[in-house]
């Protein structure tokens, strides 16, 4: 790809970039969060959100208002914006958007397979799937017994098909295997997305590649942390780590051998980016968890993406920032509804 995106980016994508920057300006500010934190009930939260860009999005909700309903409506709003961007996009931005939706598709596939394991009805789960990850073959997912079945019968026509290379096996889909499948699919997806951005080159690669490298390393750390004390073996664990991050290859090998949090921390100390993150983790129930620290770092990177023009990273960054905003609002709403206000200020301010 020729360098010099500033010469021709606006021809195809200028309108959408302008639009997404407008949407980004309407994210909640610190003052909005302060107002939300002072609410006493979920009805107050609804009233405060009416003064923001969310407007009357909860107007049609019947009483009583629950946190889950707020989350569903926020998600629908994000989905409407995303679909608008996607419908007006041209190549290669459309492929970029398709890559973005693949992660939600993977979540939906896993949700449907778990539902099949629990013998739930497909119809009720289909309604609850993530709207950004909808694809036409979704209803047929529950008939598959093994990953090869799943691929051959259902997913071969979807964008998820290329990610199935490492996942084809004849094992029946029980809980452990579904978890392994989820992580392997996500690993292939992340590596493919990284390659796409890198091949695109230009400002997009400069912005998106560090973000995706961080995402890969974050997944490696979180998988390791959550696998302590489970039946997942170290070799299995190593096959789940995405290889497009800074930790590849030595860090991932060391991480696969880690057996507790301190060993993980020692691996992170070899990397200048991750050492300060691990130092910010509080111990026990007092301070921040590792996930909080990673979310903060992700928000910083996404906000910085808006400092450059003429790249696709603004769309990715906007979607991720909007999701963080949704997480913040859901957290504040849960603290209010459970009347447990000690940690209500643990949200991550964006603007």
């Amino acid at each position: 790809m020729l360098e010099g995106a500033e010469f021709y980016f606006n021809v195809d994508h200028g309108y959408l970039e302008g639009l997404v920057r407008g949407c980004k300006a309407s994210l909640l500010t610190q003052q909005d969060y302060i107002n939300l934190v002072q609410c006493e009930t979920l009805e107050d939260v609804k009233i405060h959100l009416q003064t923001t860009d969310y407007g009357n999005f909860l107007a049609n909700e019947t009483n009583p208002l629950t946190v889950s309903k707020i989350d569903t409506e926020m998600r629908k709003k994000l989905c409407r914006e995303f679909e608008y961007f996607r419908n007006h996009s041209l190549e290669p931005l459309s492929t970029f958007f398709t890559y973005m939706t693949c992660s939600y598709m993977i979540d939906n596939v896993i949700l449907l397979m778990n539902a099949a394991l629990q013998k739930k009805s497909v119809k009720e789960i289909l309604v609850k799937c993530h709207p950004l990850g909808r694809f036409t073959e979704m209803e047929a997912v529950n008939i598959a017994e093994t990953p090869s079945d799943l691929f051959n019968a259902v997913l071969v026509e979807t964008p998820l098909a290329p990610f199935f290379q490492d996942c084809m096996s004849e094992n029946t889909l029980d809980e452990l295997n579904i978890e392994l499948l989820r992580n392997k699919l996500y690993k292939s997806y992340l590596e493919a997305f990284y390659k796409f951005c890198k091949n695109h080159g230009d400002v997009t690669a400069e912005i998106m590649c560090p973000i995706l490298e961080f995402e890969a390393d974050r997944r490696a750390f979180i998988i390791t942390l959550n696998s302590f004390g489970t039946e997942l073996s170290k070799d299995d664990r190593e096959t789940l780590y995405p290889t497009c991050g800074k930790l590849y290859p030595e860090g991932l090998r060391l991480l696969a051998q880690a057996e507790d949090f301190d060993q993980m921390r020692r691996v992170a100390e070899h990397y200048g980016v991750y050492k300060p993150l691990f130092e910010a983790v509080g111990d026990g129930s007092g301070g921040k968890t590792l996930e909080d620290v990673f979310y903060e770092h992700e928000v910083q990177m996404n906000v910085l993406a808006f400092n450059r023009q003429f790249h696709y990273g603004v769309f990715y960054a906007y979607t991720k920032l909007k999701e963080q905003e949704m997480r913040n609002i859901v957290w504040i709403a849960e603290c209010i509804s459970q009347r447990h206000r000690t940690k209500i200020n643990s949200y991550i301010p964006i603007l």
Partner: protein
């Protein structure tokens, strides 16, 4: 005198009742704290995993209980309540069965007796790699279960103590009608 003995009994019963009430209050406060902690840890798990990943979508409407409640009569006629994990089977029959297997070592292996499959850990409804906040939530709720059983036993004892007290006070009134 009979009245003196009765009064002593009333006193000791009252003291026991007050002790039980204090213990019940302490246990109730602990149970509330555990349940609050559990729900809060669930919120933290939702923050880490996604709001729809920890909720009714993940579990079936029919589920096998992991913990059962048993009651029994103690010697003073009071009912005692306690909780038992479903997988805790008494291993008494293993000994003789093993010996039987050993004796028949040369022959074809006897099929092992059908044991009920261990109930799945509800934590695995949400995946194998779950955040620690979800594990904390499970631990908090489990502690709360034992507390709830203790509270039930205490409540039964308190009710019985109250009725005993009322009975004794009636008797006392009958014995000394002029002192009321």
């Amino acid at each position: 005198m009979a009245a003196q003995g009765l009064r002593a009994q009333v006193d000791s019963l009252l003291l026991q009742l007050l002790r039980d009430l204090e213990e019940l209050e302490a246990k109730r406060a602990a149970l509330n704290a555990r349940v609050e902690e559990g729900w809060f840890s669930l919120s933290k798990a939702r923050y880490a995993m996604g709001a729809k990943s920890v909720g009714p979508l993940q579990y079936a409407s029919r589920m096998e209980p992991q913990v059962c409640v048993y009651t029994s009569e103690a010697q003073d006629g009071l009912q005692k309540v306690w909780v038992v994990r479903a997988s805790a089977q008494t291993p008494e029959e293993v000994g003789p069965r093993e010996a039987a297997l050993r004796r028949r070592k040369g022959l074809s292996r006897t099929p092992e007796p059908e044991s009920s499959p261990a109930p799945r850990d509800p934590l695995n409804w949400f995946g194998i790699l779950v955040p620690h906040s979800l594990r904390h939530a499970q631990a908090s709720f489990r502690e709360g279960l034992q507390l709830a059983a203790d509270m039930a036993s205490l409540q039964i004892r308190i009710d019985w103590g109250q009725s005993q007290l009322r009975g004794l006070q009636e008797k006392l009134k009958q014995l000394e009608p002029e002192s009321t």
